[in-house]
Subunit: 415 residues, 2 copies
């Protein structure tokens, strides 16, 4: 009996050590990644950020992708707001300069709210997408800027843009410029309700008024995302992105936690975390495939079997959140599995930040650290969220370490 | 002296044998490829073609991509028109059914000439691209249908659509739906003048009136394509597709031959054939990279190092055309090099047709035989053109085989 009690305690200590080691590893990596972007990506001339960075951080293209401008502003504000060591003026100033760049140049033809997809260094629009995503990242940036500065002009921008996005999605998409066609599938791509759900979370944080304003919208988004799994083969294409499923998973998990809906939480862990992970993990070389096909056909995306950084960072968040919420050790071990692969394969200890694109075997296929779709977002968001979650888990374990659990009788016997 | 003369003759015989062997190999492959599409791709219910075909030819998606509908109509007509063994009613009927499907459904909102990019099986538009390419392949199909049927309604469609395309490209692109933006590069993508140049060739074939109508347009296209090489780093992005350079090469070569411009021909062979081939051939695993970067940076396209079927089929055409025109044996040997790699790596002897997408090492990455961008076009066009060129080359060699060349003095001495 004594042995058993000791073993439980030893196991707990060992787990605590592992969690602590990961917290340290993740925290150090976050420092290094933030330093990389601080050093290489700031455009001191026009404001905003260069994101097309080579392996060593050198700028290979000065184009500014609006998704990535908005995301980097958001990320800097989040770090400034949530981490004492990042509560630094230089981070805040860069975020504000990025925000001003967006305010001045993102919209193609004001007063229309449609934003460009990519701008020249000095803010001339190069390309406009017929989707809502530039506008969504613009909204995220503005809401965060308001949170860190308190300036209402940012929040007004955020809320007005959000209203416009919701109008495009749920009422009239005409303003997006995409014609309504008789053969278009009735369901929008899963990315749309996913993105909106994350905006509901963003705008509603510690803001009762907006949380209540977007309450119904959040439920609608969750429903639409869930439909994508339930409808399955009936939708246009059964091909899906592993990373999208996992990211949708933790978005939904946050939603279910907010709603205190344990049945939904279990369903999400099953269908959005475990299912895409097990079907998407490469049994031969490790790592998550970029695309999968629910019917087990060959995806038509040329890059389907590549290993991208962001499905792995999303998986780390999803499994650690799943474990934090459920306490199921299987989810913690999946976190370890993914994190180990990710840190070994994607990190670049020589120049910092992560490689984004490996081939199936894990060899670096693209040496860039940033590009049209990789900026200062998925990596630091993952590291920041994981650091916070590991911190919280360790905080929960602390008392157990300090004093024996009252429920373990063997300890009594050992006295 | 006698030895030398004999060796020349033996070399010529050997070369003739090699050419003949390739002609046979190419011809048999063309038969097999055409049989594959005839068997698997015809939609007997609605007309038109399924192009999303799995390895064994099974349809995995019934969507109809307009580029590929137009291309298959064009290909069938070409074969019907130029090859005795393909002068078959079933080919013609399928081409006509494809043409009727396009006439009925390709345009999204008649009388506007804008065509869809993809339709449902029964012709409902699913997606519209803000480019000219659907319309270009529509034009190619209609012009060929006129050539094989003599029906003027096809030719009227072709010419009217061509006029619309030229208007969009050279006068006012508003009808394409892409907004004019201050940051958009002044030069259109190289694919635009390439495509137009091939239409000039298509419409002008044995048609003096149209050849003269589009004479200036052809020169304009050639100039714009040449600018892409000369401007180089000044354009938006120095990344280019190996296959596009080679395809532009043989389009320009046809143009230069028509113009009887030997200086231009030599320049094209140098800049559009040899240069992209040598920088784009993988020294480690063989085959042509999909994307290259003129500044030797890493391309940002995830699939840059994959080996796709069509750059290889275009290279086969380009080098055989270059050799046919110049007689430079180095070009013939490059044809052999590419053709050998291509036949070994892309052919599927088990189910017919070619795999389209290999990874860098040459392993099949996508098992599909057709998809949104691979239909009945690049493979049979390459095989048909190569068969014709090899035939013509053998025709030129025949007399040399029958009688000794008068210019070889050694033969005189041997008498």
């Amino acid at each position: 009996v004594m042995d058993w009690g000791l073993r439980v305690l030893q196991d707990m200590e060992k787990e605590q050590e592992t969690l602590y080691a990961w917290k340290k590893r993740v925290g150090q990596e976050l420092d290094s990644v933030v330093a990389f972007w601080m050093k290489h990506s700031h455009d001191l001339e026009h404001g905003g950020f260069f994101t097309c960075l080579g392996r060593d951080g050198q700028v290979y293209d000065r184009l500014k992708y609006v998704w990535l401008q908005g995301r980097q502003v958001w990320m800097y504000c989040r770090l400034y707001r949530n981490f004492e060591r990042f509560h630094r003026t230089d981070l805040l100033d860069a975020a504000k300069a990025g925000g001003e760049f967006l305010l001045r140049y993102a919209r193609v033809a004001p007063p229309s709210k449609k934003c460009a997809f990519v701008l020249t260094q000095d803010g001339c629009p190069v390309k406009v997408q017929r989707t809502i995503f530039s506008e969504c990242f613009y909204t995220m940036a503005m809401n965060e800027l308001w949170r860190v500065t308190g300036e209402m002009r940012y929040q007004n921008e955020a809320v007005e843009m959000m209203d416009q996005i919701v109008h495009w999605v749920r009422e009239d998409p005409a303003g997006l410029g995409r014609p309504q066609l008789s053969g278009t599938p009735a369901t929008e791509p899963m990315a749309v309700p996913m993105m909106l759900l994350s905006l509901v979370e963003q705008l509603g944080e510690a803001d009762k008024e907006l949380a209540s304003k977007y309450l119904e919208l959040g439920d609608w988004c969750a429903q639409r995302i869930l439909q994508h799994v339930q409808v399955g083969k009936a939708t246009c294409s059964p091909t899906f992105q592993t990373g999208h499923a996992l990211e949708a998973g933790w978005f939904l998990l946050q939603h279910a936690i907010r709603k205190s809906d344990p049945k939904l939480r279990a369903y999400i862990i099953d269908k959005f975390l475990l299912l895409p992970f097990h079907s998407g993990w490469d049994p031969e070389h490790g790592g998550l495939f970029y695309f999968q096909d629910a019917d087990d056909l060959c995806p038509t995306q040329l890059e389907w079997d590549m290993k991208l950084w962001w499905p792995h960072s999303e998986a780390m968040i999803a499994f650690l959140m799943g474990y934090s919420d459920s306490g199921d050790p299987a989810l913690l071990h999946l976190f370890y599995q993914v994190a180990e692969y990710t840190f070994c394969q994607f990190r670049d200890p020589e120049f910092g930040e992560w490689f984004g694109y490996l081939n199936r075997e894990g060899k670096v296929a693209l040496t860039i650290k940033g590009g049209p779709f990789k900026g200062c977002f998925h990596v630091p968001r993952c590291l920041a969220m994981c650091e916070q979650m590991l911190d919280a888990l360790l905080g929960r374990l602390e008392p157990a370490h300090a004093a024996p659990l009252p429920a373990v009788p063997a300890r009594e016997g050992a006295k």
